[in-house]
């Protein structure tokens, strides 16, 4: 065997091993459905049977029984915003979870006055361990009736522009918005109670705005009544809904991008054209190999 062939074999083997590592190595990126670490959504995804989508084209034409969770940590394109708006107006339930991302551009596009303040909500007294993990205990009566009494947030923000009838949950009186980032209350900084969840009806559908996407991560979703609250918000009338989590607007680590590309490549190779091409290529190579052997044998 020639040296070039050995080199080629080593490179090829390395690449194949790399692919296998990418495929099987667990991701640790925030909000990834296959991330079973503290910051992933694996528990929530598996317990709710949520489907992860990488493009909003996958939204159903009849979305009445579908709840879409969007965590807009990347800029949302106009096309995506239009699709999201269509989804809500046609009867879908949109759970927009954000704190410091691009949620406001989507809210503006949807034509509602609700906005994310994008400043940290801190609560030095009603919190889990420290003030960056505030606990929410004030809810509307219908939320309380669904046996939700306390919810823990994680590096949340607050909502502004919320109408009286739109608010669902408020922070405590000891909470405040840390607008200057010094982690303590200063004169002029908004004090609690501050709205952290709101609901608005758009067209035939419902928009639920939550000022913290971390409420559903693995390490938080099981605390207090977090899961029950999200479940309640998704199916307000008690009707079970298909849940979709939009991954297209989430930042991705190298391994996640690689995983997605690998998955896309697998999907692409599963298409009829690619399959025909692969079969033809294999046929060509094997035939050539066979003929060469035949020639050698005479």
């Amino acid at each position: 065997m020639r040296a070039s062939n050995i080199m080629f074999a080593v490179v090829l083997l390395t690449l194949v091993v790399s692919l296998l590592c990418i495929w099987f190595y667990p991701t640790v990126q925030d909000f990834m459905a296959n991330n079973s670490m503290w910051n992933g959504l694996k528990h929530f995804s598996s317990s709710t049977g949520a489907k992860n989508i990488d493009a909003l084209d996958a939204l159903p034409a009849l979305p009445e029984n579908t709840a879409l969770i969007v965590i807009p940590y990347l800029k949302i394109s106009d096309g995506e915003m239009a699709k999201t708006k269509d989804f809500v107006e046609n009867g879908g339930t949109l759970l927009l979870m954000d704190d410091y991302g691009y949620g406001n551009s989507l809210l503006e596009y949807l034509g509602t006055n609700i906005r994310f303040s994008t400043k940290p909500l801190l609560d030095p007294l009603f919190c889990y361990k420290n003030q960056r993990l505030p606990k929410i205990t004030d809810f509307t009566s219908d939320v309380k009736e669904s046996h939700v009494s306390v919810v823990t947030l994680n590096h949340a923000t607050a909502l502004t522009g919320v109408g009286q009838s739109q608010a669902i949950a408020w922070s405590s009186t000891t909470s405040f918005l840390d607008t200057d980032g010094n982690e303590s209350w200063d004169q002029g900084e908004p004090k609690g109670p501050l709205t952290v969840m709101a609901e608005s009806h758009l067209g035939k559908g419902t928009l639920v705005v939550i000022a913290d996407p971390s409420i559903i991560i693995n390490s938080i979703v099981g605390l207090d009544d977090n899961y029950r609250l999200v479940e309640f918000l998704i199916s307000r009338n008690g009707e079970p809904k298909d849940i979709m989590i939009d991954r297209s607007n989430l930042p991705k680590d190298t391994i996640d991008v690689s995983k997605l590309r690998l998955q896309s490549a697998r999907d692409a190779f599963s298409s009829p054209f690619a399959l025909i091409g692969i079969v033809a290529l294999i046929f060509l190579v094997v035939s050539r190999f066979t003929f060469r052997k035949g020639e050698l044998l005479g």
């Binding site: 090829l12 009849l62 410091y100 889990y128 361990k129 000891t174 930042p251 190999f289 005479g298």
Partner: protein, 691 residues
């Protein structure tokens, strides 16, 4: 895999493409790094004593503002606070004591108000009883305040407030809380002063007033002696009064009139010209005045209170010149039985109601033994919103239009018939289940569809309410789409193109979506399976197979043959080998016309040609074929045993061929001649043996 790519340009190109794809996949760049949360399991535990102390201060503020409900709600959230373990018990005590104190303050405040009224009316007996109650409440209030004070002290110690510098936030928060506690103490002291001053009766010494500098316990003790003195005052120096009351009739319809009368006396003497209050359930209702005989009388109209019994009392209390002379008196309670008509209202609604559609509410009054009214107003409410009004006697049926945007689920229908004269109000409610009618689709589709072509789909759309007209039906088959609208009877007839694809025969999903503009219909999404036969692909495949069956064997024979056509070079014409003789009728002479070009070729080709002919002959004679796992030599040795004398020649010829096959030896003309001779010898030997 290496073997596949080895030495092959096509293979290497393919491998390079695969590698590039893999590298692109592996070397994806990171998009963004963000930290929107922290791991709560490893989060640092941080308590805020300042927040806790200020929260307590806020709670006590609500107490001072006499808002005990809000204070209780606020304190009820303390279990969710992030508090150090050593402060949990203290905080709990603080919450309980504060909540109790809040309620006691309200009770004391209200009690002092009533006490003031009673003392003003010289109702000293009642005042003495109330003073005792207030005194007990004051005692409890001071106890609770003591607990709060102690809790504040412990909290300060645990939070190391006293080691914090003066003017620090922690010190300020503690001082603010201590200040609230002082203010509450001041409030309680003020209540004590008010109570003491109320017990002081104008123009009478009832004992020395306690000093506010005394401790709460000694204040309470002194208060008890004051109350005892007040009770003794009811006999001396004031004159007792007596009052009685009769009503007639004792049982009346609501709204009817009742005659009352009675006599007011003091030590057996009538009191003339005194005002007497008639109390209904302890509230003043009407005033009468005594005549010279101390007699008072009047008529009162029974208020439209639809309750079966009203307590009636007459009250006299000294006013103007009577103050300081007479004491107040109350008559015994006289029960007035109130009669009114009651009705049971039963309402019924359909099991399902639909958005945008009318729903009928039916109600029936059951008056029992009572006479039904001529007409009665009935108001209908949907989720507390007024929607309709109807006049009825015993039964009504009213349609209400549900809003198109009404949320699905359970809603409350309340029907209220306000009170009317002798008829008491009636209220009944029921649950209205708002839902949407599910669409049902009957569809006729062909079992099998040919591609290319169209699919005719007929169907009928209906629901539990009948056929659905004007609804849109969207059909999707692969990339083909079609949309139709249902007719008046709910039927539709659609045609959708069966698009080309790569499949041959198989099933494909036909997606159907049906939705109506009418808000009471729920949209429908359904999928049916259609068997598709792709005639184009099937035909193409058939043609390919036929062509392959025709040309593939010849092509393979050429490619896998012993000689490579391109390597055959006719250098010198070679003599044609002799045609092998026919040895028997059962064996077939090798066909000399197969490929005579090889006979005339190079020595190597001629030896191989001769060997092939002999090999075929040997195989026919021995009925043995050379297996793939056996070498030519092994086969020659095995077959040679059956050939007799020809066996040796065959083995020799085989060795010659193997030498040519597996070495770089170039055969000469002599070798070719020797091969020919060996072939000929084998044939002759076999002939001699009668084969």
């Amino acid at each position: 895999m290496m073997m596949l790519f080895k030495g092959s340009l096509t293979g290497k190109i393919a491998a390079a493409i695969v590698c590039v794809i893999i590298i692109v996949i592996i070397t994806a760049s990171s998009v963004q790094a963000f930290d929107p949360h922290e791991n709560p399991d490893v989060a640092v535990q941080v308590f805020s004593g300042i927040s806790l102390l200020r929260y307590h201060s806020g709670s006590l503020d609500l107490l001072l503002q006499k808002l005990p409900e809000q204070m209780g709600e606020r304190l009820g959230k303390l279990p969710f606070a992030n508090i150090p373990d050593n402060l949990i018990s203290v905080t709990s005590d603080f919450g309980t004591s504060s909540a109790n104190l809040g309620h006691l303050v309200m009770e004391i405040d209200g009690g002092l108000g009533n006490m003031s009224v009673l003392m003003g009316q010289f109702r000293l007996d009642e005042a003495a009883q109330l003073a005792k109650v207030i005194s007990d409440e004051m005692s409890k209030a001071y106890d609770n305040l003591g607990t709060i004070e102690k809790d504040i002290q412990i909290s300060g110690d645990q939070l190391q407030v006293f080691s914090a510098p003066e003017g620090s936030d922690l010190r300020s928060a503690y001082n603010e809380l201590a200040d609230r506690e002082d203010r509450i103490r001041g409030t309680l002291d003020l209540y004590m002063d008010r109570l003491v001053s109320l017990l002081k009766i104008k123009g009478t010494a009832i004992g020395s007033l306690p000093s506010s500098t005394e401790s709460p316990s000694s204040l309470i003790a002194n208060l008890s002696s004051l109350i005892a003195n007040l009770s003794s005052l009811t006999e001396n120096p004031f004159s007792l009064t007596e009052i009685n009351l009769q009503i007639d009739p004792a049982s009346v319809f609501v709204g009817d009139k009742v005659h009352f009368d009675g006599v007011l006396t003091s030590k057996g003497n009538p009191l003339a010209g005194r005002k007497v209050e008639i109390l209904l359930d302890s509230s003043p209702y009407i005033t009468a005045e005594t005549d010279v005989n101390g007699h008072y009388s009047g008529v009162l109209q029974v208020p439209y209170w639809y309750i079966p019994k009203i307590n009636v009392q007459a009250l006299y209390y000294p006013r103007d010149e009577d103050i300081g002379i007479y004491l107040a008196s109350q008559s015994a309670v006289v029960e007035l039985e109130v009669i009114f008509y009651q009705a049971d209202l039963t309402i019924s609604v359909p099991s399902k109601a639909y958005p945008g559609m009318e729903t009928v509410i039916t109600g029936t009054f059951d008056f029992g033994q009572s006479p039904p009214p001529d007409l009665r107003k009935v108001e209908i409410y949907l989720d507390n919103g007024f929607v309709a009004e109807v006049q009825t006697q015993t039964m009504f049926k009213q349609s209400i239009l549900l809003p198109s945007q009404i949320s699905l689920g359970k809603h409350t229908i309340a029907v209220s018939a306000p009170a009317s004269g002798r008829y008491s109000p009636v209220l009944a409610s029921t649950v209205l289940n708002v839902t949407r009618a599910g669409l049902l689709l009957d569809i006729e589709k062909p079992r099998m569809v040919m591609i290319p072509g169209h699919i005719n789909i007929k169907g009928r759309l209906h629901s539990e309410m009948g056929p659905v007209s004007g609804a849109s039906i969207r059909l999707k088959l692969g990339k083909s789409r079609a949309e139709v609208v249902t007719s008046d009877d709910g039927t539709f007839d659609a045609k959708i193109k069966a698009g080309m694809g790569f499949s041959l025969i198989g099933s494909q999903d036909l997606s159907i979506e049906a939705f109506s503009q009418k808000p009471w219909y729920a949209p429908l999404a359904s999928t049916r399976s259609v068997t598709m036969v792709n005639m184009v692909n099937c035909g193409g495949l058939l043609v390919c197979l036929v062509l392959l069956s025709m040309y593939l064997p010849r092509w393979l024979r050429k490619k896998l043959g012993v000689y490579r056509k391109k390597k055959v070079r006719l250098v010198t014409p070679a003599p044609l080998p002799e045609v092998l003789p026919v040895y028997s009728q059962s064996t077939t002479t090798p066909d000399s016309t197969e490929d005579n070009s090889e006979v005339r070729g190079e020595p190597r080709a001629r030896i191989f040609y001769g060997y092939r002919l002999v090999l075929k002959l040997v195989q026919r004679v021995t009925m043995a074929f050379c297996p793939t796992q056996q070498t030519l030599r092994e086969f020659a040795i095995e077959a040679g045993k059956k050939l007799g004398p020809a066996g040796g020649y065959f083995v020799e010829l085989t060795r010659m061929v193997e030498r040519l096959l597996y070495s770089k030896y170039e055969p000469t003309e002599e070798d070719a001649e020797k091969g020919r001779q060996l072939s000929k010898s084998i044939a002759e030997k076999l002939k001699n043996e009668g084969v």
